[in-house]
């Protein structure tokens, strides 16, 4: 008799907890992978595709699924460190095939050479190039992420990447680098 009671009680408790867990799994269901969002937030959003994925979000998804964390060239060591912290893995040096200088650049169209083929417009991941067929194109500097993707499709090589010039608004205090000249 007491065995039966014990089984009944345990069964009842198990049912209760089962119901609770079942409810929780529906009520607190997480839509999508929050890790992907967090990884995406760490990436520089240049959408350059140098990692081999068509944009930062796809790479974030790939990293969440076990892709190497060292493929983001524009982000550089900083980004790798942050991803490593988030993923709880070792920091790796930047993938050798991706070693590139990551000085911030913007695309610049040499306008007199532009033939208006619209190929760069199609390549731009952030719609930062304006122009129409057989019309001269130009780059909206503020929107350009410097991803380099427009350079290759240009049939007349009229796009070049120029480093962002230092102005008083984006200048970094670097106490060793103030150009001290002899005053005479």
């Amino acid at each position: 008799m007491s065995t039966l009671i014990a089984i009944l009680v345990l069964g009842l408790i198990a049912t209760c907890f089962g119901a609770l867990l079942g409810y929780a799994s529906i009520k607190f269901k997480v839509e999508g992978d929050p890790l992907v969002e967090e990884l995406d937030a760490l990436l520089p959003q240049t959408q350059c595709g140098q990692c081999g994925y068509p944009g930062c979000k796809p790479y974030a998804e790939a990293v969440a699924n076990g892709e190497a964390i060292n493929k983001c060239a524009p982000g550089g060591e900083d980004t790798i460190k942050k991803i490593a912290d988030l993923m709880g893995v070792e920091v790796q040096p930047l993938d050798e095939s991706h070693v590139a200088d990551n000085t911030p650049k913007v695309a610049f169209i040499i306008e007199e050479d532009c033939i208006g083929c619209t190929k760069c417009i199609q390549a731009c991941p952030v719609d930062a190039i304006i122009g129409a067929s057989k019309q001269m194109h130009t780059v909206i500097i503020d929107e350009c992420t410097g991803c380099d993707l427009c350079v290759a499709p240009c049939p007349v090589d009229c796009i070049k990447m120029i480093p962002i010039t230092t102005t008083t608004s984006n200048w970094q205090w670097d106490l060793d680098n103030i150009p001290v000249v002899q005053i005479d």
Partner: protein
């Protein structure tokens, strides 16, 4: 509890945390009047001298300007204009080193004064009360007045506040050691300053006006008190001297007892603060219509023989000021703009005086040592005691060195006013403020990048959505079109029947064609019977295909095998006449030695050899040429590196030759057309065309530029082939060709030329790519 005013009347003020008492050096300059100095030989006027945006330039190089004439106009709320400080000529508008710690260059207007100092027309206002609120604001804004205490905030924005203002505080504290510019300005111009204060009071309608002045300026305080003797709304508050009482937040706390919380601007607390020099400038602008073109600058320091306050025109190079005050040049001259506590070292003495420049300090080596004697922090905590913003300077320092930006923000780094009190008291002589400045700039930059990344992400996502939408729309459109077509055909209407029968006819044609080519095959293999020109052409097309295949195989086996021989062998059974062969050989040899300028003559010979052409000969020739082109392509890709060195001239000859060739061929082609008319079998003519098309389709480029002028399809094809040939020859040196073409395009700037140039460039690029892979 007594009110703020009662407390002030009794002379009891509040205190702010920390603060220091650095040695005063005001006696160097405060005993001499403000000096008028001669106009310098050149004025360098930066377009932006304040916080916000530069105005839009109104003048150009060579313009003659009058004193007070605006050089820029304000377009946005946060921009203020600049004015010509004296009459003269604009000699240049260029980048020049500006008054900024970075030593960076910015846009400056260079003005060569004519020495006459001629004013533009001015509208003096005798009664300020006549002017409306908006008139006053626009007068202040168009006079280009920005806060002259150091920050350079546009004065008209502060003055046009719509909030209820309790206190208008006039900052005359001037707490930095050395600086006496405001002191002297008050002593000499107190009535004008009071007028300025009245204008501000008219705009802001404060309940009380407080003038804060430190007790180390007794003369100035006395003058102010006299000027305000009969005024109940203005209180002159003589405050105990302590650095940095002149800081906005500190002065508010001392005068009203209210602490400005982090991230709150004083206007939201009902308090507006203006510098005393700004009040003077406002009065001059509104009453006398004098824009902000000059200011009092303290030129001080023991490296000067005659330190003194001077009236400096904006844009005066620092060098001129130093010369006026007899600068003793040492081996390592050191110049500071601003006071010794908050100023920054200047990279050069060509830097101009701007609206925010209150002091130029030229200290001797003894006064301010340039050597950095920084040692490790001993954690004494004196910096925390001295900090007027109640921060933890040593914690900030460690976090700044470790670049721990999150921690820095937690420690409220951005509440640091960079007063330098912590660095002053530091026994280890750590330049703490420098670390904070670096960290602040880094954090700002990081924040900017984050904003930009977020923006880029949004744009990327939006683009993806748009592309997806477009794709769906396209698919939908295609589907609908297909459906409509099907419906039309099945509708049973006469058009539908027509469409149906058209499709059926097309199918039948294709079948017939297939059958015919089968017959042609048989004929080719038979090879003995005297074949008609048409059949020969068909056969040649077949053989060509075969040859191409063989050639590909051979190329795989060994690239050294002269494939043109092989192709000739393949051709041999089908030869139409000797002339064709000859021309073929010629072409092949041309391809092999393509860089020879004799190309044109050879090919012309070849043309003459077949100048009595049957149609089959024409076709054969075209085929041969295509082949030669292919062969040439192979050769070229091998030879490319060598050829690249060849001179440009030979190429020019090449392209000229091609032109002549094209012309010759056009003639020939027209002959062919005439012959074709004679030939009775129309379908065979079609065949012939097809062969030619297949040949020409190997040339990937478009021939639009030449095609426009040519009359028939055949002609176009010929021209294309000829062009392709020429292209093959000139490709390795395409860069040079481009140069040539560019040169010619310059001479004759027609649209065709430019198109040709672009096409040529594209081709060259393509070729380079195939070579590199």
């Amino acid at each position: 509890m007594e009110s703020v005013i009662e407390r002030i009347t009794r002379g009891h003020f509040w205190k702010f945390h920390g603060g220091i008492h650095p040695p005063e050096q005001k006696q160097l300059t405060n005993n001499k009047p403000i000096r008028q100095i001669p106009i310098p030989a050149e004025l360098v006027i930066p377009l932006q001298q304040h916080i916000g945006h530069a105005g839009e330039l109104l003048v150009k190089v060579g313009d003659k300007v009058l004193k007070g004439q605006p050089l820029t106009q304000h377009t946005t709320a946060m921009s203020v204009p600049i004015h010509a400080p004296t009459s003269g000529t604009i000699t240049d508008i260029k980048n020049a080193v500006i008054a900024h710690p970075s030593g960076l260059s910015d846009r400056c207007v260079i003005l060569a004064p004519d020495g006459e100092d001629t004013w533009r027309e001015r509208q003096v206002c005798n009664d300020v009360n006549m002017l409306s609120h908006d008139d006053l604001i626009s007068r202040i804004a168009s006079a280009g007045i920005a806060g002259m205490g150091g920050a350079g905030f546009p004065a008209h924005i502060k003055a046009s506040s719509q909030k209820k203002i309790n206190y208008l505080i006039i900052n005359a504290a001037e707490c930095e050691p050395y600086i006496t510019a405001d002191d002297l300005l008050i002593r000499e111009n107190s009535p004008t300053i009071i007028q300025g204060i009245d204008i501000l009071a008219k705009l802001l309608k404060p309940t009380q006006i407080l003038i804060g002045i430190e007790d180390n300026k007794p003369e100035a305080a006395k003058v102010l008190m006299q000027a305000c003797e009969n005024r109940t709304d203005i209180k002159v508050c003589v405050l105990p001297t302590k650095y940095p009482t002149g800081g906005e937040k500190q002065l508010i706390q001392v005068l009203t007892g209210q602490e400005v919380p982090s991230g709150v601007i004083p206007v939201n607390m009902g308090i507006v603060m203006q510098n005393v020099a700004t009040c003077f400038a406002i009065a001059e602008a509104v009453i006398h219509d004098i824009p902000l073109i000059r200011r009092v600058v303290t030129v001080s320091g023991q490296a000067l023989e005659k330190p003194q306050n001077v009236w400096a025109l904006l844009g005066t190079p620092v060098k001129h000021l130093l010369d006026c005050c007899d600068f003793k040049r040492s081996s390592k001259p050191h110049l500071i703009m601003g006071g010794p506590m908050m100023g920054y070292s200047l990279p050069t003495d060509a830097v101009p005086v701007v609206k925010t420049t209150n002091c130029i300090l030229a200290p001797s080596d003894k006064e301010i040592s340039q050597e950095n004697k920084e040692v490790e922090c001993i954690r004494c905590g004196q910096c925390a005691e001295a900090c007027p913003a109640q921060l933890l300077p040593q914690e900030l320092q460690w976090s700044a060195k470790a670049k721990d930006h999150d921690q820095l923000q937690k420690l409220n780094l951005f509440d640091c006013i960079e007063c330098g009190a912590c660095a002053y008291v530091c026994p280890s002589q750590i330049p703490l403020v420098h670390y904070y400045r670096v960290a602040k700039a880094e954090i700002r930059q990081k924040h900017l990048l984050e904003v930009k990344a977020e923006h880029a992400k949004a744009r990327f996502e939006a683009r993806k959505v748009r592309l997806e939408k477009e794709k769906l729309a396209r698919e939908e459109k295609h589907r609908k079109a297909a459906e409509a077509r099907r419906a039309r055909m099945n509708a049973g209407t006469p058009e539908g029947e027509n469409a149906k029968s058209a499709v059926a006819a097309a199918l039948a044609r294709v079948k017939a064609k297939k059958a015919q080519s089968g017959i042609a095959d048989v004929e080719t293999s038979a090879e003995s019977a005297p074949i008609s020109p048409v059949a020969a052409a068909v056969a040649r097309a077949k053989a060509k295909k075969l040859a191409a295949k063989k050639k590909a195989e051979q190329a795989l086996l060994s690239t050294d095998t002269p494939s043109s021989e092989a192709s000739l062998e393949q051709k041999a059974p089908l030869n139409a006449n000797n002339a064709t062969l000859e021309s073929k050989e010629n072409q092949a040899s041309i391809a092999n030695v393509s860089d020879k300028p004799s190309d044109a003559t050879i090919s012309k010979d070849g043309d003459e050899a077949i100048s009595k052409p049957t149609k089959s000969a024409q076709v054969a020739k075209a085929v041969a040429r295509a082949k030669a082109k292919k062969r040439a392509k192979e050769m070229q890709s091998e030879k490319a590196p060598e050829n690249a060195n060849k001179s440009a001239e030979s190429k020019v000859t090449d392209s000229n030759a091609t032109l002549t060739e094209t012309a010759t061929e056009t003639e020939k082609a027209s002959k062919t057309i005439r012959e074709e008319k004679v030939i009775p079998n129309a379908s065979s003519a079609n065949k012939n065309n097809e062969t030619k098309v297949s040949v020409s389709s190997e040339t990937p480029d478009d021939t639009n530029d030449t095609a426009v002028t040519e009359p028939s399809k055949q002609d176009r094809i010929k021209a294309a082939i000829a062009k392709a040939k020429a292209k093959q020859q000139s490709k390795p040196k395409a860069d040079l060709v481009v140069d040539d073409l560019k040169a010619s395009a310059n001479n004759d700037d027609s649209k065709e030329k430019r198109i040709a140039l672009a096409i040529e460039k594209a081709k060259a690029k393509k070729q380079q790519r195939t070579e590199s892979t």
